[in-house]
């Protein structure tokens, strides 16, 4: 069952490359259905039978390619399938104005999915590297789709960042392999000790991944890339792609290198996160372009993910578990909400013909659904109830209380208010009655797919139990995370 999730996207990637244009359109829906169906089936299987290992071609570790489907990875698989499906539906209607870009969008889209699924399922560090490379390249390709001057520049920056990040990561992998002779995550987590080699390797990989995840202050490439790409691309990048490198980072710190990381280092990671929250929010508050606002919002929101490290390392088991659960929920909620937000904003920009926030007057009358989707996703981003974002924030707050780390508590509370500050900029002007320019109607599918994603972010507030109980089926159980004294 497990490999199918790699095979489907790869197969469709090649198909869309080869088939003529009108065929490409025709196979989108079947592909999505297959992909979502497979993810759901795998979820149910894991839910019933527990985590599964799968050795590709029956080659066992340390040499072979092993795929691990545990609670965490299937959750992310399902998330990926869902968001990708809705983005694809959106893209179908959105790209009608971009015939040339459409040609390349679909192959890249499927490659991107394959890379993501590969990362979620990978059982060793090298597979993760392969996934990262594929992901980076397809993502850069998607950013560069429109081939305008600014987007090309952004894509180039992104490319350099991705390459440098991969390089740093690869160097770390090599060091670890040299020291321990294996790349299997499961084996490394037992073996890796707190020696300089491990720590240097981890440091290298961390820097690379921080760059790829666009964590402050290495976020410079993200806003132009995410803000400049086409709406469905931005949605995919912000919702999923950056999460992949964070996922690897979390694996490294809490599983592979659990014995090697120190509390100080974890606190430093948290400090980066806090910096991201404040800096990203401030920039989002300052910018004039709506898409840049959303992109900077991603920078800020990624900061919350970084709080996982200080909250989960060197604390009691209960606190670590809360931090872990909170982070998962935040990852999911942000993915839904940010995808929804980019899609909604894309629709609004399409309708208005520009992205200047201060000229958004009157948009609420012509595109209420898109604006409403924006609003709902904003609720989750601000961490207001009822939403997945709120539940995530709640768990993180509880974790901070449980471990007595009041500084992170304060950071999160202020972060929520800062989010509100920049999000409500958009609402404020959208309530203005007068429209300065003509506003076009947009296809309902565009508005509705954004709304669907936003509703999922809200609904996550009511079904948080589901991913959290799936999470318990992981072999990176929280119990092993709080190891370092």
């Amino acid at each position: 069952m497990t490999p199918i999730l790699l095979i489907i996207p790869l197969a469709f990637a090649i198909l869309t490359l080869l088939l003529p244009r009108h065929w490409v359109r025709a196979i989108i829906i079947p592909g999505l259905v297959l992909q979502v169906g497979a993810a759901v089936l795998l979820c149910m299987e894991i839910y019933q039978h527990g985590p599964q290992d799968y050795a590709l071609g029956d080659w066992q570790a340390p040499l072979g390619i092993s795929l691990i489907a545990d609670g965490f990875s299937v959750t992310l698989l399902a998330l990926t399938a869902l968001i990708a499906a809705l983005c694809a539906i959106y893209a179908q209607y959105f790209l009608t104005r971009y015939p040339r870009e459409q040609r390349y969008f679909w192959p890249l889209f499927w490659f991107l999915l394959a890379a993501l699924n590969g990362i979620w399922l990978a059982g060793d560090l090298f597979n993760l590297y392969v996934g990262l490379e594929l992901l980076g390249l397809s993502a850069v390709g998607m950013v560069a789709l429109t081939a305008e001057k600014t987007t090309l520049k952004a894509a180039l920056d992104y490319l350099y960042a991705a390459l440098f990040g991969s390089l740093a990561y690869l160097a770390g992998v090599a060091l670890l392999y040299g020291a321990y002779g294996t790349l299997s995550i499961a084996q490394l987590s037992d073996m890796a000790a707190a020696n300089p080699t491990t720590q240097v390797a981890l440091a290298l990989m961390t820097v690379g991944l921080l760059l790829k995840t666009a964590i402050f202050p290495l976020h410079y490439w993200l806003p132009p890339a995410h803000g400049g790409a086409l709406a469905p691309v931005s949605a995919l990048l912000s919702a999923l792609v950056v999460k992949a490198s964070f996922y690897i980072l979390a694996l490294l710190w809490l599983d592979v290198g659990a014995l090697a990381v120190t509390v100080t280092a974890a606190q430093a990671m948290g400090a980066l996160g806090a910096g991201a929250i404040f800096w990203g929010s401030w920039q989002a508050f300052q910018t004039r372009q709506i898409k840049m606002l959303v992109a900077y919002s991603t920078v800020a929101q990624l900061g919350y993910l970084m709080l996982l490290f200080p909250l989960a390392i060197g604390v009691s088991e209960a606190a670590a578990q809360l931090a872990w659960q909170g982070t998962i929920l935040h990852l999911l909620a942000h993915a839904f909400a940010k995808a929804a937000m980019f899609l909604a904003v894309g629709t609004l920009v399409l309708a208005l013909g520009h992205g200047r926030i201060n000229d958004f007057g009157g948009v609420s009358q012509r595109n209420p659904v898109a604006l409403f989707a924006f609003g709902l996703s904003a609720v989750s981003l601000m961490g207001l109830p009822p939403s997945g974002g709120f539940n995530a924030k709640w768990l993180l707050l509880q974790s901070a209380i449980a471990s007595g780390q009041w500084h992170w508590f304060v950071v999160m509370i202020i972060g929520g208010l800062l989010t509100a500050a920049y999000v409500f900029r958009v609402f404020r002007v959208s309530f203005l009655q007068s429209a300065k320019h003509e506003i076009q109607d947009t296809h309902p599918a565009l508005q509705l797919s954004a709304l669907a994603l936003a509703l999922m972010a809200i609904a996550l507030g009511f079904v948080s139990e589901l991913p959290l109980s799936l999470m318990n089926l992981t072999d990176i159980a929280p119990a092993t995370m709080g190891g370092t004294p």
Partner: protein, 501 residues
């Protein structure tokens, strides 16, 4: 069925909100009938539940939201007081709003958020634990913002910004308080159930300081919406909203939610006896008293009708907090019953202000000269509301003050009477001149901007009759106070259940 009834009550306005959002702007009739049908249905459901509560039926709906944390919708006597107020006023404000907004743009959005706002207050009323309360409290902030800025003018946007600053800030503080409560005191989530009163008193005395701190954090969070001085700044500014919104905000939705939360924290989380032992009630009582006097003093200075009413709300709502701080059943009754009494009286006053503005274009108090003759029914309603606020019998406000005063003496806080009387006199100071202008001053020149000519009635029927109805309520609530089905009797029931376990 008993588990689902609270959900249905909530759903009547929540689903209505969704349907209204979906309905295109032009389906005027469908929207109106939908809205009114839902409002009536809600009143029926609430009535059924009130009858059930009186007979000790337990209505509880529980759903696990996070590990160890439940979403609880639970109806008890106190929640039904608030739910009853909210459902009745929903009907009247909706009727009023239909008349008020006739022909205005964006009605679909308005009524959608209006219903959502009522759904939030319903949720606040029915919340069965602190966590659920927090959820709906924040939802209320979100659903009222679009109503405050509804007009879309620069001024209303500015007001909206102030409103957000205060309420989101307050929401964050409340979140801190609730998170601390769960994280430091009540990891199991049982002590923050409203049904379990006074369990905190079992905690060891080392934790008492923590509990006192959390108490004030919670009050600070709730105090923004309850407009306790110095957190009241948003309220007068939010007056730019359309009249039915102001009415709803002041009478049942926002300020009341804050006051209701304070009552919940004192009675259902800490337990009034324990709170008294902690010594947190006296500071709150003093703060509430300061608010009462300060609000009245500021109201005296206002020249605009709605601003004056707004400051009056600042003052009046704190009676509820004050009553909650009076340890003893009678003070409790006074505070709780004022929750309802203030609601019906204030909604009347805002309806009247809206009628004057919509019919004659009058916004300033000085333009009210001689209006009594042109709009007698509205002016009678205003007079009743104003006298009720002053605390003149037999209106509802007198009953509140009577019980608050006796309750204060019971609790050994005789100085509160001084506050009550001083406030009454200040109330008289800012309401009587208006009443005087209405009835005793001759008309000065033409009306500022007469939109609606006097035909069969003095103004549009949908503006007039809700006003008259709520005025009659404020009279009846006082006149029949001792009746078994009066708000006062219901408040007594709540107090008995609180004090006699």
């Amino acid at each position: 069925m008993t588990a689902l009834l609270p959900v249905f009550v909530l759903a009547t306005s929540l689903i209505t909100a969704v349907l209204i959002f979906i309905l295109p702007e032009r389906y005027y009739r469908l929207r109106v009938s939908l809205n009114l049908a839902a409002a009536v249905l809600k009143i029926v459901l609430v009535a059924v539940m009130i009858a059930g509560i009186a007979n000790q039926v337990d209505y509880e709906f529980r759903y696990e939201l996070l590990p160890g944390i439940d979403l609880v919708l639970r109806a008890d006597a106190l929640s039904m007081l608030f739910a009853g107020l909210s459902s009745v006023l929903w009907l009247f404000t909706t009727l009023y709003a239909i008349g008020y907004l006739e022909g205005a743009p964006n009605r679909s959005r308005f009524f959608g958020f209006f219903s959502l706002c009522v759904a939030s207050t319903m949720g606040i009323a029915l919340a069965g634990n602190l966590f659920t309360f927090l959820i709906f409290f924040e939802l209320l902030t979100l659903s009222t913002y679009p109503l405050v800025v509804h007009r879309g003018t620069e001024e209303s946007l500015r007001a909206g910004r102030t409103y957000l600053k205060y309420t989101l800030g307050g929401g964050a503080v409340l979140l801190v308080g609730v998170a601390l409560m769960y994280g430091l005191v009540d990891q199991t989530g049982t002590m923050t159930e409203f049904a379990e009163t006074g369990t905190l008193s079992a905690l060891p005395s080392e934790q008492h300081f923590t509990l006192a701190v959390i108490f004030f954090v919670l009050i600070a969070g709730l105090g923004v919406k309850a407009a306790l001085v110095p957190l009241h700044g948003w309220l007068p500014v939010a007056m730019v909203a359309p009249a039915p919104v102001s009415a709803l905000l002041h009478a049942v939705a926002v300020v009341k939610a804050g006051a209701f939360g304070i009552v919940r924290v004192i009675y259902n989380i800490y337990g009034v006896e324990f709170a008294w032992q902690l010594g947190v009630l006296l500071p709150l009582a003093i703060l509430a008293s300061i608010t009462i006097i300060w609000g009245s003093l500021r109201a005296l200075q206002q020249v605009e009708m709605k601003k004056r009413l707004a400051y009056s709300t600042v003052s009046q709502v704190s009676y509820i907090a004050l009553g909650a701080c009076l340890f003893g059943p009678i003070g409790t009754i006074g505070g709780i019953v004022h929750l309802l009494h203030q609601g019906i009286m204030k909604v009347t006053l805002f309806f009247c202000a809206g009628n004057y503005a919509e019919t004659l274009g009058i916004h300033k108090i000085k333009d009210l000269d001689g209006v009594g003759r042109r709009m007698p029914l509205t002016s009678i309603a205003f007079t009743l509301g104003a006298f009720g606020m002053i605390g003149v019998p037999p209106l509802a406000g007198f009953i509140s003050k009577w019980y608050l005063g006796i309750g204060a003496l019971d609790a050994g806080m005789g100085w509160v009477i001084g506050v009550l009387i001083l406030s009454s006199m200040l109330n008289a100071g800012y309401f009587l001149p208006i009443v005087y202008r209405l009835w005793f001053k001759p008309k000065q020149g033409p009306w500022p901007d007469e939109h609606i000519k006097a035909a069969r009635f003095e103004t549009h029927g949908l503006l007039l009759w809700p006003t008259v109805a709520t005025a009659v309520f404020s009279l009846a609530a006082g006149l029949f106070a001792a009746h078994a089905w009066s708000p006062l009797s219901w408040a007594s029931l709540i107090a008995f259940r609180e004090y006699l376990p």
